[in-house]
């Protein structure tokens, strides 16, 4: 479990060291803080995505949610002059509500997560563009929400608040996922929903809650991004961001089959993605290759992880075999040699 995170951390350290050696600007204070800010921004909703992926689902709607919630948020502050705490609350509730609707459709109406959230992606984006007639919304010269703006885009002792917020959030979600009953249920449901239901777990509620959390964090991210860019153009704001989140989660050890992944892994995955983006700039690699670099690293990372896991499992199986010999039979032998047939008596 921890091996995966350690491997990811080492990869991150090695890549950073090499990049830093080639161009020391990479390790400059300014650059590191800039990266920390981006990691904070992208990490928050990646954590929500991670929870959804652990249930065996997926949330493709996040980027469009940012656009829709973003234009609403700016409109509330500028056009309607709503005091910022209310605007913030409304946006958070909006995120929770959208997550709740998606969760309802997936668990109660038994629709596939991919389809539900793909439709969400299309609908929210369309709604945002229609609502604004495709025009960019931004803050005027007034200071509609300077307090909130300071909180969202400020820093403490130089460390960006977004990053600090991500760390706090990761700690809270880490306890939720790895120490709480809900977290245990989430893994159980992700691995085997039927067995979880047969153990009296309200699996629908567990799954729907993951979507609600993801939606709520999307609301938080919306606010952070709005103050990062200071304007929202509804056709491009947040485009592809859900894919960053999925990539970070997968890189961080989440399996799209569900039931696997950790908070630390997702945070490290986000960090690695941002480091890669930064590295493309710093090393003077043509910016157009940005996505290609990211794709390649994810591909290699997941491949390497799978190979290592398979090897570890083979080793463990052989060790287990020696330990429980000679009465133990085929389960272990089979996994050890990856045989195609199985007997029903064994796993």
């Amino acid at each position: 479990m921890m091996k995966k995170e350690l491997g990811l951390f080492l990869l991150l350290a090695v890549i950073s060291a090499i990049t830093g050696a080639i161009n020391p600007a990479f390790l400059s204070f300014v650059n590191l803080l800039n990266m920390a800010n981006l990691i904070g921004l992208f990490g928050v909703f990646a954590l929500g995505e991670g929870l959804v992926i652990i249930t065996g689902g997926i949330d493709l709607s996040l980027g469009s949610m940012f656009a829709l919630l973003g234009v609403v948020f700016i409109d509330l502050l500028t056009t309607y002059q709503v005091p910022w705490p209310f605007a913030l609350l409304l946006v958070l509730m909006g995120g929770l509500a959208l997550g709740g609707i998606q969760g309802f459709l997936i668990t109660r109406l038994k629709m596939q997560p991919f389809i539900v959230t793909l439709c969400g992606l299309l609908i929210y984006r369309g709604a945002a563009r229609y609502y604004t007639s495709d025009s960019t919304r931004g803050f005027g010269y007034g200071d509609e929400a300077s307090t909130l703006s300071n909180i969202a885009s400020g820093n403490i002792g130089g460390i960006p608040n977004t990053f600090i917020f991500l760390i706090i959030l990761a700690l809270i979600l880490g306890v939720l996922l790895h120490r709480s009953v809900y977290g245990r249920w989430l893994y159980a449901v992700g691995k085997n929903e039927e067995a979880a239901r047969f153990s009296g777990i309200n699996t629908n509620l567990v799954i729907a809650t993951a979507y609600v959390i993801s939606g709520g964090l999307a609301g938080v991210s919306t606010v952070m991004f709005v103050f990062y860019t200071n304007s929202v153009s509804p056709s491009s704001f947040g485009n592809f961001y859900e894919l960053y989140a999925i990539a970070a989660a997968v890189l961080g050890g989440c399996s799209l089959r569900g039931g696997e992944g950790s908070i630390l892994g997702i945070v490290l995955g986000t960090a690695l993605l941002q480091v890669l983006q930064n590295l493309v700039n710093i090393l003077g690699i043509p910016n157009s290759l940005n996505f290609a670099v990211m794709g390649t690293v994810i591909l290699i990372g997941v491949l390497a992880d799978q190979q290592l896991q398979a090897r570890r499992r083979r080793k463990a199986a052989l060790a287990g075999l020696a330990r429980t010999a000679p009465k133990k039979d085929s389960t272990i032998l089979q996994s050890a040699t990856a045989l195609p047939t199985r007997t029903g008596d064994q796993a």
Binding site: R197, G200, G320, T343, A347
Partner: protein, 508 residues
């Protein structure tokens, strides 16, 4: 003696640290049914995989049709006419019967595109299905077939490659009584056509009725061979376990108490026009027999809240209880040990510890945070109480044998307070030793005042373990037998919907 078709001599297979097969000799004659028995882990499946070419033996010779092989590949095995009917059927549910029979060897039409010739394949499969007495057609989707019918497809597949030896690994473990009989007929027919069958089963009754010769494996060695006229349950069991099997039945320590679980007029979605009335008292084991598909599992699922209850009510100690979900049922102390433990009983990839506490985790938590120490203690207690064989409670359930996995499912419920427990085929695919442990456990639960319903298709188990037997037929209870009425004959009569003879005699 008939001509020897296939001979394995001195077969050994060693894995690092374990000797799975040790100098095993096996001979199959033409048109012979060889029963192969042994406890789980005795090496039956490994031996058959050597024969099917899946595993390379470390030593020994395979002689077939006059040729000697140090090892076989899957292709060679097929060419030599060895076919495998798998215990867990390896069929493609999304394809039709003909496509499954010819999978990997599709008949191609001529022409540059080499398209698959479906008509040709169907035409070739039809006579095979007729020969097996199957009442489905080559274009039936496998998804729509029952397990017994799927088995027929596997056998048709074996026939289509002109198999000379068909290996059947636990073929009847999911079949109803009548389907089993049908399969035994098919085996007799194969035999009449000169095809040999190697029949692996835990069900000794079937071995008795179909085998010409029985070979017993224990710990990877051949421990004995019984000719047809030497066959008896006792002889086979003695060889398998090296000791005599105790009588199964242990009477309850005290008379059943009043109270328990009443199932009154319950209607399940499987049989919306039938009502089920059944009561099980505290302290008794009620066997629930019947053919597969008689509605026993549907009843258990409805009482446990998995499927909706379409009518009637469930009372525990004369108090009606609501069971809209498994959560409700569990709150009432109604637990189910499901038929398919890997799918519904366990989260295989989670450790034993987390499986044991899965249903009761909130009780071992404060403010929703899991108390790891308490959790570990519960799991260890259960592992000890049930003698789960595992190096620690932190290893994944998937690495355990069937019997130990079942014990983990039991541990989950025993760590709570059961009032009514449903066991659905509790010992399916479990070896003899673990079986008797599970029987003893059910008895001790009953003696603690739990009402136990044991659904079982294993006649020996139904008659040997239950205090009373209720038999279901097409969605309702067709009769209840007291111990003095227990007989295979009586259970079967009720299971096929006939009244007991005594009752007929009493009628005017």
């Amino acid at each position: 003696m008939a001509e020897t078709l296939l001979e394995l001599s001195g077969i050994s297979k060693t894995y690092p640290g374990v000797r799975a097969l040790d100098d095993v000799n096996l001979r199959v004659c033409r048109g012979e049914v060889l029963g192969l028995i042994g406890e789980n882990g005795a090496g039956k499946s490994t031996l058959m995989r050597v024969l099917a070419g899946v595993i390379e033996p470390s030593a020994g010779v395979i002689r077939i049709g006059g040729n000697e092989h140090a090892r076989m590949t899957v292709t060679e095995a097929t060419q030599c006419g060895i076919a495998f009917v798998h215990q867990e059927l390896n069929l493609f549910e999304n394809l039709d019967v003909a496509a499954n029979v010819f999978i990997g060897r599709e008949k191609l039409a001529g022409g540059p595109l080499k398209l698959v010739d479906n008509a040709e394949m169907r035409a070739r499969v039809t006579p095979l299905l007729e020969r097996l007495g199957a009442d489905f057609t080559p274009n039936t989707l496998v998804d729509n077939l029952s397990i017994a019918e799927r088995q027929m497809v596997e056998i048709a597949k074996a026939l289509s490659i002109d198999a000379r030896v068909i290996i059947m690994d636990e073929p009847t473990s999911s079949l109803t009584i009548s389907e089993t009989e049908r399969l035994l007929e098919v085996i007799a027919d194969l035999k009449a056509h000169g095809i040999s069958v190697i029949y692996i089963s835990h069900r000794l009754g079937e071995i008795m009725s179909c085998a010409d010769r029985v070979m017993v494996l224990r710990d990877g060695r051949t421990v004995g061979e019984l000719a047809r006229d030497e066959l008896s349950h006792a002889a086979m069991i003695r060889l398998m376990i090296g000791r005599d099997l105790k009588a199964l039945y242990t009477p309850p320590a005290r008379a059943p108490e009043p109270g328990g679980c009443d199932i009154a007029g319950v209607v399940t979605s499987a049989f919306p026009d039938r009502q089920i009335n059944l009561s099980v008292r505290r302290g008794e084991i009620l066997g629930l027999a019947g053919l597969v598909g008689a509605g026993r599992t549907s009843l258990a699922r409805a009482v446990f809240g998995v499927d909706p209850l379409l009518g009637g009510e469930i009372r525990i100690d004369n108090t009606p209880v609501g069971v809209a979900s498994p959560r409700d049922a569990i709150r009432q102390g109604i637990y189910l040990v499901p038929e398919d433990r890997k799918k519904s009983g366990l989260v295989l990839e989670l450790p034993i510890r987390e499986n044991v506490t899965l249903a009761s985790l909130l009780d071992h938590a404060r403010m929703w945070l899991v108390n790891s120490a308490a959790e570990r203690k519960i799991a260890k207690d259960q592992a000890r109480r049930l003698s789960i064989k595992a190096p620690s409670v932190d290893i994944e359930a998937v690495t355990l044998s069937g019997g130990n996995q079942q014990k983990v499912v039991l541990g989950k419920w025993l760590s709570m307070q059961p009032r009514v427990m449903f066991f659905d085929e509790p010992t399916r695919g479990i070896d003899v030793g673990a079986k008797s442990e599970i029987y003893a456990l059910m008895r001790s639960l009953a003696d603690q005042g739990v009402a136990i319903v044991m659904i079982s298709s294993d006649m020996e188990e139904v008659i040997g373990v239950s205090d009373r037997v209720a038999v279901m037929h097409e969605g309702s209870v067709s009769g209840v037998l007291e111990r003095d009425q227990f007989s295979e004959y009586n259970v079967l009569r009720l299971a096929v919907g006939q009244a007991l003879e005594i009752q007929e005699a009493a009628a005017p």
